[in-house]
Symmetry: C2
Subunit: 141 residues, 2 copies
């Protein structure tokens, strides 16, 4: 059940950007426990806050796709590893859009209560993204 909820959440919310679907998947309070890639790290978000987070995050990469690699389940959490890809169409960390395809890998633990997601712990290879952006910008320059 948790794995099915999570798969649908990733697809609808993060891949398709359907922010109206968010309340179906997350609890009233969602905590970003650990996520060095995320400006909301450490915060507790309600549904409206989470909607803003998704909309803002997807702005520079509107066609982003998280492709789940492995999925693990424990009593109160699900852990996934993933590959991410997107076309870079807006500013990321001060770097102007390159129009190029970028990729990243990562892993996320999603915490559950009553089949709703209450937060996550995440790590991603952000350095790989910066190296790709710099390489694309150098080519242009």
């Amino acid at each position: 059940m948790k794995q099915a909820v999570l798969k649908e959440f990733i697809q609808k919310v993060w891949n398709e950007g359907d922010i109206n679907a968010i309340s179906k998947y997350i609890a009233d309070k969602y905590t970003i426990v650990h996520d060095p890639a995320d400006p909301w790290e450490g915060m507790e978000l309600d549904v409206a806050g989470f909607q803003r987070r998704v909309a803002t995050s997807r702005e520079p990469v509107p066609d982003q796709t998280f492709d789940i690699q492995e999925m693990y389940e424990k009593e109160d959490s699900v852990c996934i590893t993933w590959l991410w890809s997107a076309t870079h169409l807006g500013e990321i960390a001060g770097m102007p859009p390159t129009g190029e395809k970028i990729t990243m890998s990562g892993a996320t633990v999603y915490y559950f209560k009553n089949n709703k997601i209450t937060g996550h712990w995440q790590v991603a290879d952000r350095l790989g993204v910066f190296q790709q952006l710099q390489s694309h910008l150098n080519k242009e320059g």
Copy 2:
């Protein structure tokens, strides 16, 4: 069983640097399936190669510790999330030793066959490490 093997492997080999213990934990061939932080990414190592990898990796950070956060198990693999810390005593990616404590987070899937580890898929927040090193070097400069 797999979780106990992995815990001991992380402690003895990566935390304590006991390279003579490696053959107890890994299969004759160990494949680094995905690991953007690792110079051996994509390679298949035998025990001697793995010993060189551990010795080389630990050189600049001889007191490194992987502190396992969560552990998940499936039929043929175990996934862990971890926090890493170390004192930076040797060159890392061209940056001179700072003597400072550095930290990193990551997640690793370890693949098993007959209770021996046959390889891994890993992601780590390398950018966080570079940001810490740069901040330490700027303080000194």
